[in-house]
């Protein structure tokens, strides 16, 4: 206590001029916002701007940017603007295509080409397929091919026929017939072309019979040999036809492919691919021609079989040579800047789509679809971290991709082994992208704390301010910002007064007269609403009246609950005195935040004391309706009491403190000074003025400390008093350090001007005591004793009295025991 010197007692209420920091429209040298040029710079975010610049400039691993700040602080606009500016001067990245992998059909291959050439190559391949189709059809229909093929076929067939014919001939010479049974071939003895019956056969001379049987056996063996050679002959035929097909195909398509190879000779991967295409073509020329294209071949009769044919695992040749243009950059003029609004797993890393066919899901490399990372590859990608985190597996996939520098498309089902059907595993594409992630601070710090990879991947922290100093220079910039937004949103021009009012409201919004809010979203909302009201009022220029109307309307729309609160006070359902004096009772002020709207309402705080063991009972805490900060504030009170008044004696009182008629929780320490006033009043048995309300937190030395929501609190009590009729005595005690936050409503300022309402800035508890009790607080002498006729003296006397009584009781108790 010794090191904090209480200031001189005697508090004067604040003058009206202290309650509101005006922006004088006359300070502006423009008529309306139409006179102002656009604001090209980013205002109020020097730290974030520098961070983003740094993040964009540094080309090292992990230097991605995390823009953190509350919603509406212009993160996306700033990051996008910077990325776009830089992207303009950067080169357009190459196109990416996926092509069939002839070696591993389930792993489509990515290839890249200069911007625009992806489309060209795709078209070239489509045209090639058409040309090949007709070239092959012509080649295979040519007389030469047909003749050579038939030649091979006939050679084999003749060989077989000849062998059979020879056997048949031999059989005939020996009076035997070679006949077909349903399952095979038999030799039978004949006479005059007729097969012998069993009896006729038996009647033959034995020698002849044996001879016939022997012949039959010989012929059977010969026939067996001929029949056994059939499969190998067929195989030979197939090989010959295959070789012929290769030769013809090579001749037919070689030239076409050479042309393409020439055209793309600068791209070795494309050339390799074209060689692979040629090899595949030569091997599979037959499949390439559609059945109906081939002469003399009937299409499948059964439509089901035809459809099943289409369902083969490997795509048809024409499909195999198609090009899936994954990323087409031909329209770009610089590096891409992509904002992915719906960053699902698949929208980020791409996906392999499927087609339903006959109840089965089929896919091939043409169904690979690009994700945002593909589109942003070689440029910039902007993501909202909250959305990324909400999407299953998206965050992990993003990190994995950034770590490996490879975009690998995997389906979630496959990844989790939920689906194990044959599907595609496209070969990954190398990734080079700068990511700008937008999010609020909480998410940044949580990720930073819990995700070990986060700090390695997002090394640049761009922290966005919500406010900036309200000085003359900034106010001019602010006016230009308003002008820019007015033009962007096609609003009516704002005149000087309207701009000034917007700036004032912006200060009020963040509860600080020396700062203005730079939450672009809130400003934009207010501008649009003011423009609406100007339209309603038939104004061509938005004036301060329109802005005020917009503010009032915003409040009115949100203030149903405040009305109910105040109504219940005015109807004496909630008991709040605004006149007279009471012992152990004071008006506290509590703020209620509902969405974007905050209001305050007075609460009655009461204290009762009796002899006890020195504990101050916080009734809210006993019923678990007190938040930790509130509880801490109450505990500070006992520290203050004991040290100040009874440093050398035990604190022998038991006090209870309560927020009367509070049915929900109490949090914050802004009522701790009010609680102390109530407690001291109860101890000293001195009444406190009920026409004043109190706010401010207190420390163990009795200093009053700043609190939040001072404007709302003052207005909350003012509204009640005004409704009951201002007596001229009413007012609010606020911490002196809150004066710079005052941006009060006009009617409050008027009441203060007219002396109907007072606002007392309090620095030290004793100042508040004097205002509330009208008594001298009293200064302690060198022994720490307060004069008896002062408030502090009364407190000290009561506490000393209680301590003595306590000691007496203890002695009596001990005597009894002995």
């Amino acid at each position: 206590m010794a090191n904090v010197k209480p200031p001189a007692i005697g508090v004067s209420p604040l003058a009206a001029g202290d309650l509101y920091t005006r922006t004088d429209p006359k300070d502006f040298d423009f008529e309306t916002t139409s006179d102002l040029p656009d604001l090209t710079e980013i205002i109020g975010q020097p730290r974030a701007v520098e961070a983003v610049h740094f993040g964009m400039g540094i080309q090292k691993e992990g230097f991605n940017i995390f823009a953190l700040g509350p919603n509406g602080s212009g993160k996306q606009a700033l990051v996008t603007q910077f990325f776009e500016e830089r992207a303009k001067s950067e080169s357009v990245p190459w196109d990416w295509i996926y092509v069939y992998n002839f070696e591993q059909s389930h792993r489509p291959r990515p290839l890249s080409l200069p911007p625009g050439m992806g489309t060209e190559f795709k078209n070239d391949m489509e045209q090639l397929v058409e040309e090949i189709r007709s070239a092959l059809a012509t080649a295979f229909e040519s007389d030469e091919y047909q003749a050579r093929r038939r030649g091979h076929e006939e050679e084999v067939q003749e060989l077989q026929e000849k062998s059979l014919e020879e056997i048949q001939q031999k059989a005939r010479e020996n009076n035997l017939a070679m006949m077909r049974t349903p399952a095979g071939v038999v030799f039978a003895p004949t006479r005059d072309g007729e097969v012998l019956g069993p009896e006729e056969f038996q009647n033959l001379p034995e020698e002849e019979r044996k001879n016939l049987e022997k012949k039959v056996e010989e012929l059977q063996q010969e026939l067996q040999k001929v029949l056994q050679s059939a499969p190998s002959l067929q195989r030979q035929l197939r090989d010959r036809v295959q070789n012929l097909n290769r030769e013809i195909t090579n001749y037919a398509v070689g030239g076409l492919l050479n042309e393409l190879r020439q055209k793309y000779s600068a791209f070795s991967e494309i050339v390799d691919y074209l060689y692979a295409v040629e090899k595949d073509l030569v091997e599979n020329a037959n499949d390439f021609l559609r059945a109906e294209d081939l002469p003399g071949v009937d299409g499948p009769e059964n439509p089901l079989a035809a459809m099943m044919g289409q369902m083969r695992q490997t795509p048809s040749p024409a499909q195999r040579y198609r090009v899936n243009l994954l990323v087409d950059n031909r329209e770009l003029t610089g590096a891409p800047v992509v904002f992915e609004d719906n960053p699902t797993y698949q929208n980020l890393i791409g996906r392999v789509e499927h087609m339903a066919q006959m109840g089965a899901l089929l896919t091939d490399f043409t169904l690979i679809k690009a994700g945002a990372l593909h589109r942003a590859n070689g440029g910039y990608l902007i993501l909202d971290i909250r959305k990324v985190l909400l999407q299953p597996y998206a965050w992990e996939a993003l990190k994995r991709t950034l770590r490996s520098h490879l975009i690998r498309i995997e389906s979630i089902g496959q990844m989790l082994s939920m689906i194990s059907t044959v599907s595609l595993e496209p070969e990954p594409i190398p990734l080079n992208v700068k990511i700008g992630v937008l999010g609020d601070r909480l998410l940044y710090y949580l990720l930073s704390y819990y995700d070990p990879e986060f700090n390695e991947l997002f090394k640049v922290e761009a922290d966005f301010e919500e406010q900036m100093p309200r000085n003359a220079e900034n106010q001019v910039k602010y006016a230009r910002l308003i002008a820019t937004m007015v033009r962007r949103d096609n609003l009516r021009p704002f005149d000087q007064s309207a701009v000034a009012r917007v700036i004032e409201q912006s200060s009020r919004h963040i509860g600080d007269a020396e700062k203005v809010s730079i939450r672009i979203k809130d400003i934009a909302d207010l501008l649009q609403e003011a423009d609406y009201w100007a339209g309603e009022n038939g104004n061509h220029v938005v004036t301060s009246t329109d802005v005020q109307r917009a503010i009032d309307a915003q409040i009115y729309r949100s203030d149903r609950l405040r009305e109910r609160f105040h109504e219940s006070i005015l109807r004496n359902i909630v008991l709040i005195d605004t006149e007279g004096s009471k012992i152990g009772q004071v008006n506290g002020l509590s703020v209620i935040q509902l969405g974007n709207f905050a209001f305050a309402s007075p609460s009655r705080i009461t204290a009762r004391v009796r002899m006890g063991k020195g504990d101050v009972v916080n009734i809210e805490r006993e019923v678990e309706m007190s938040g930790p900060i509130h509880s801490k504030g109450v505990l500070i009170l006992s520290g203050f009491l004991g040290a100040r008044y009874t440093a050398d004696k035990p604190l022998s009182l038991s006090a209870s403190l309560v927020f009367e008629q509070s049915y929900s929780g109490v949090e914050g320490d802004s009522a701790s000074s009010a609680e102390l006033y109530a407690l001291l009043s109860a101890i000293a048995d001195v009444p406190l003025r009920q026409d004043l309300a109190v706010t401010g937190s207190i420390n163990q030395h009795g200093q009053i400390q700043a609190i939040g929501g001072v404007n709302e609190k003052i207005e909350g009590f003012f509204d009640i008093c005004k409704s009951r009729g201002l007596t001229g005595e009413q007012g609010v005690l606020i911490p002196i350090s809150n004066i710079k936050h005052l941006m009060l409503r006009q009617d409050v300022i008027e009441a203060v001007e007219q002396g109907k309402f007072q606002i007392y800035p309090i620095e030290f508890i004793d100042q508040g005591i004097e205002v509330l009790t009208g008594m001298k607080a009293g200064e302690p002498d060198e022994n720490g004793n307060y004069p008896e006729d002062t408030f502090n003296g009364l407190v000290q006397a009561r506490l000393t009295d209680l301590a003595e009584k306590q000691a007496q009781l203890s002695r009596n108790g001990l005597e009894k025991e002995s």
Partner: protein, 277 residues
């Protein structure tokens, strides 16, 4: 389609279990549907086979596995019955699909003789060309029908569709006129119809051409005409092949087209041949 004259009321098709005879069956059904004729399928159980099977030492060589196994008549009979049932079912199915009146007969005896006898009740006979050796040459049964039958016969190598090119040999004979009428059977509006006029001198050519032109006047197709003074089998085979291997229609019993030429043509051609008599 040109409405053909109602000259064909009953079509006979000779069937066994071979793929070629199934193709013949299909063509027969298509044709029967087209001319609204009744279709008769005939399956001959070869009596010679049954006789062979009853020989004590008879063994057959399996066509596919080339192994030898004993046979007897009951098993061969069973197998033949099974084949017949199979073919009958097939016929029932495709005839029903084409809404064709049909009947199916199983007879036992020497194949050629039985078929020849059956052709007497039919206005057109359809038969697969090759024998069981699966070559391209004519089998013995087809040969008997070509040579001995008095009925028009369509000899097929494989399945054909209507609308294929048609080549008709016209020599002014009665059979030749029937050959022109035969074009109605197989040609459609899309068919390329070629009339091969077989005549000695230009005057006769002009006359025959006029006749043919008159005949085709109200048809949907417009034929083209070629003139040959004499013709060999190899010429016919070449011509029909160069026209696209559709159907070749030949008149029989004509002096200018001797039987041996016809037989050789049928034997060596890969295209379908319709013999009109």
């Amino acid at each position: 389609l040109a409405k053909p004259e109602k000259a064909i009321n009953r079509i006979l098709v000779a069937v066994d279990a071979s793929p070629q005879s199934q193709a013949a069956l299909q063509v027969a059904v298509d044709l029967a549907a087209r001319v609204e004729a009744e279709l008769v399928g005939i399956f001959v159980e070869d009596v010679n086979l049954l006789r062979i099977a009853s020989l004590p030492t008879s063994r057959e060589i399996s066509f596919y596995t080339t192994t030898l196994r004993e046979i007897d008549s009951p098993s061969i009979e069973r197998q033949l019955r099974a084949q017949a049932r199979l073919v009958q079912r097939l016929m029932a199915r495709i005839a029903a699909r084409a809404n064709v009146r049909w009947s199916f007969r199983v007879v036992r005896g020497a194949v050629s003789a039985q078929l020849l006898a059956a052709t007497m009740e039919a206005d057109l006979v359809i038969i697969g060309k090759s024998g069981w050796t699966r070559g391209r040459r004519m089998g013995s049964t087809a040969r008997v029908l070509v040579v001995q039958s008095t009925r028009p016969a369509l000899v097929l190598q494989r399945r054909i569709r209507f609308g294929l090119p048609v080549v008709v040999v016209y020599d002014g004979s009665v059979a030749g006129k029937k050959a022109l009428a035969g074009a109605d059977l197989v040609a459609t509006r899309d068919s390329l119809v070629t009339i091969l006029i077989l005549a000695e001198d230009p005057e006769e050519v002009k006359e025959l051409r006029r006749e043919a032109h008159t005949f085709f006047m109200e048809r949907e197709f417009t034929p083209q005409y070629h003139w040959v003074s004499r013709v060999e089998a190899s010429d016919l085979i070449r011509i029909v092949k160069s026209e696209g291997c559709g159907v070749l229609i030949l008149p029989t019993g004509s002096e200018r087209l001797p039987d041996h030429t016809i037989l050789e043509t049928v034997d060596r051609s890969e295209c379908a041949v319709l013999l009109v008599r």
